[in-house]
């Protein structure tokens, strides 16, 4: 992406933040932090982990902002930092087999979000048993995706980012991002085929 991707207002804000304006930095953070927090929450399914990713992401932004050279959009730069931290976290979790997305209880495999009900205050209490089942299945499938597939799916489906931009954030091509998305949705389709 070219420098024109940065709007003038935002460029001013970034420059002010680069020279130490606390107000400019705070504005910059508040323009983007909800998206970053949502991404981290969706990917990690754990508020404490999302909290940590949020802190680490914006502290890195604070420490490295002086080196931001406007050769990509600020959003792309920010998401590069956030997605790298999330991917590292997902990979570590996979290796350590820690905090799996689905946990096994006496009733069999239960989705962690159902075990931790306060995770989603916006959840509709009237949700039918069927959609509860769908939810569990989606969670299970998400657990089987590779960190990369998971990331592309989150960014395209939940953050509404364009594939080209996702490729840019993840340091790959639009084509590679597209293939990740294909694999992710194919796995979803297989798992949910008889429900929807």
């Amino acid at each position: 992406m070219t420098a024109s991707a940065v709007s003038w207002d935002e460029a001013d804000l970034i420059r002010s933040a680069q020279t130490g304006s606390q107000e400019a930095f705070a504005t910059l953070v508040s323009n983007y932090d909800q998206g970053v927090l949502r991404l981290a929450c969706n990917l990690l399914k754990n508020e404490q982990d999302a909290f940590d990713i949020y802190q680490e992401t914006f502290l890195r932004v604070f420490k490295n902002l002086h080196s931001f050279r406007f050769d990509c959009s600020f959003r792309t730069w920010l998401y590069r930092i956030a997605t790298n931290l999330c991917l590292d976290h997902l990979r570590k979790r996979k290796v350590r087999k820690e905090e799996p997305t689905a946990v096994t209880s006496q009733e069999g495999i239960v989705d962690r979000m159902a075990v931790v009900p306060e995770m989603n205050p916006h959840r509709d209490p009237q949700r039918s048993y069927l959609s509860q089942e769908v939810r569990t299945r989606v969670e299970q499938v998400l657990g089987t995706l590779t960190p990369r597939e998971r990331m592309v799916f989150e960014m395209r489906h939940y953050q509404g980012m364009r594939l080209r931009n996702i490729g840019e954030v993840l340091g790959t091509t639009e084509e590679a991002a597209k293939n990740c998305l294909f694999r992710a949705t194919q796995k979803m389709r297989t798992a949910l085929g008889d429900f929807v």
Binding site: W8, D12, R15, S16, T19, G20, Q22, F25, A26, V29, S30, D33, Q34, L37, R38, C41, N42, K45, E47, A50, F51, Y54, Q55, F58, L59, F62, K63, M113, M119, N120, P121, H122, S131, V134, R135, V138, E139, R156, H157, Y158, R162, L163, K178, L181, F182, T185, M188, R189, L192, F195, V196
Partner: protein, 298 residues
């Protein structure tokens, strides 16, 4: 497009990621193929099911995140300030001194504030004049303070200004954190000796980092003839963009405006983005016009 091709592309279609021609060809196929339309509907339902999975972080979580970040950034900012600036802030925050006493300097103020006149009484009656200088202090929570005090015997040195020994003493006085008044007077003496590179370095250092604007202004005066020297230009640029004292910035732009180096043009353009002082803005615009630089973006 055949049925296989159509089904493969339904995901991209729903995400709006197909190019115009492909989308056109898919829609033509869908118009004539009921089976693929049904598949599309199922795919839509799958999307809707996935939509409902979205986890919206609570407002409380966001607030907690912001509060924590604010604290961490504040720590980071303080951690990256030079030590004397930290002490300076501490002093300004803890001991709001009457303006007239400020130039005496931080360490002297601490001595006055905590000891009052006792220090001077203690030194009275000694045969040789001596000064007790506070070199370090540790405040305790009960309101007390532990001071590390250095006793200095005063000695008179005389010599010519260009004497090496005298110069070295003056250069060390130029960075003495305990006495801003002494630093101003040292600058006054040193500013005419800028042909020496160690003197120039001391002035550049003071300009960049002395907490007292009076010292910085004296340093600027001395550096006037060197405004074309690259190192001086670099420090002048950063002072112009970052010094919090408008008097210092005004003098910096007066020195930089004549310098036609390309880097100065960049500094002047950047200055327009952030400078509020009308004189400095005016001067910057004028200098940019003289070098026919683009003003369009401002």
């Amino acid at each position: 497009m055949n049925c296989d091709g159509a089904r493969q592309n339904l995901t991209l279609y729903l995400y709006g990621e197909m190019d115009f021609n492909e989308e056109e060809s898919l829609e033509r196929h869908l118009d004539g193929c009921a089976a693929c339309r049904t598949t599309l509907e199922r795919e839509r339902e799958l999307h809707a099911a996935m939509d409902r999975q979205e986890f919206q972080p609570s407002a409380e979580l966001l607030t907690a995140c912001r509060r924590e970040l604010q604290a961490r950034v504040a720590v980071e900012r303080v951690a990256n300030r030079p030590l004397y600036k930290k002490l300076w802030d501490w002093w300004r925050g803890v001991l709001p001194a009457p303006a007239i006493l400020r130039p005496i300097g931080m360490f002297a103020m601490v001595a006055m504030g905590f000891f009052g006149g006792k220090l001077w009484e203690a030194t009275r009656g000694m045969t040789e004049p001596s000064v007790l200088r506070v070199r370090n202090f540790t405040p305790s929570p009960e309101g007390g303070v532990q001071l590390t005090v250095e006793e200095v015997r005063q000695k008179t040195m005389t010599g010519r200004l260009d004497d090496d020994r005298i110069q070295r003493m003056l250069l060390s006085a130029a960075t003495d954190p305990s006495d801003a008044g002494l630093r101003v007077r040292t600058m006054e003496l040193l500013k005419d000796r800028c042909e020496r590179s160690d003197v120039r370095r001391a002035l550049l250092h003071a300009l960049r980092s002395d907490p007292n604007p009076g010292v910085r202004l004296k340093a600027l005066e001395g550096l006037k003839p060197y405004n074309r020297d690259p190192e001086t230009r670099r420090v002048l640029s950063s002072v112009l963009l970052a010094d919090d004292n408008p008097g210092v910035r005004t003098m910096a732009i007066d020195l930089l405006a004549d310098n036609m180096a390309i880097e100065v043009t960049g500094t002047l353009q950047e200055l327009l983005v952030r400078e509020n002082n009308p004189y400095i803005r005016q001067k910057s615009l004028q200098a940019l016009r003289e070098r026919n630089a683009s003003l369009e973006t401002f």
